[in-house]
């Protein structure tokens, strides 16, 4: 595939359940980002992975949020004990190491917590 892919495209869950969101970056892109867009808001930075370096987790809103990147490619964002305020579109992006200013976004996962 040519672009960033994310799955699932939509996820409805009940409050208190855990969810996992997946991101497949563009092949060869060593930088990977997660953002969140809540209703009526801009994109909010969550976490950044670059190669084998320690990720920048400074945007994660609470310790219920975590992310992994296995083998330098696929990433999973996990939200534990989901709350209604976690409802948002979660966007993943990737970029080449030379052009971190140009981030390529996936279509997002719309998470709804009931």
């Amino acid at each position: 595939g040519a672009g960033v892919s994310q799955s699932p495209s939509n996820k409805v869950t009940e409050k208190g359940k855990d969810v996992e969101l997946r991101c497949d970056p563009i092949s060869g892109h060593t930088a990977l980002y997660w953002y969140r867009q809540s209703l009526g808001q801009g994109l909010e930075f969550l976490i950044y992975f670059q190669g084998n370096s320690a990720p920048d987790k400074s945007g994660l809103p609470s310790d219920r949020f975590s992310a992994e990147r296995t083998g330098g490619s696929v990433s999973t964002l996990t939200i534990q004990r989901t709350q209604q305020e976690d409802s948002a579109v979660y966007l993943c992006a990737s970029s080449s190491p030379a052009r971190t200013d140009t981030q390529y976004f996936g279509p997002g996962t719309r998470l709804t917590v009931l």
Binding site: Y35, G42, L43
Partner: protein, 113 residues
Amino acid sequence: DQQVKQNSPSLSVQEGRISILNCDYTNSMFDYFLWYKKYPAEGPTFLISISSIKDKNEDGRFTVFLNKSAKHLSLHIVPSQPGDSAVYFCAARIRGSNYKLTFGKGTLLTVNP
């Protein structure tokens, strides 16, 4: 605390006319600015950027202007086309960070045929 502000949630223009999308920022440490365009059910796509050492950058129908003293940038689309109808996000990057972007809330542009 919104560091990047897009005060117009929506804008409607006629096909062929100019669209002007505005963005204000508060953090003087921002040194690189970008515009992204987003269609429904798709991720944002990069449109155009400008470094703080410039005051204008042009790419085809799209021009971005930066006024550092006013902490203001604008995106001009000339001529506007119906396919330009989308949400436009302004984003900024802090000096010294090569990846962390701060986004505005977006402006929905509608270009009417």
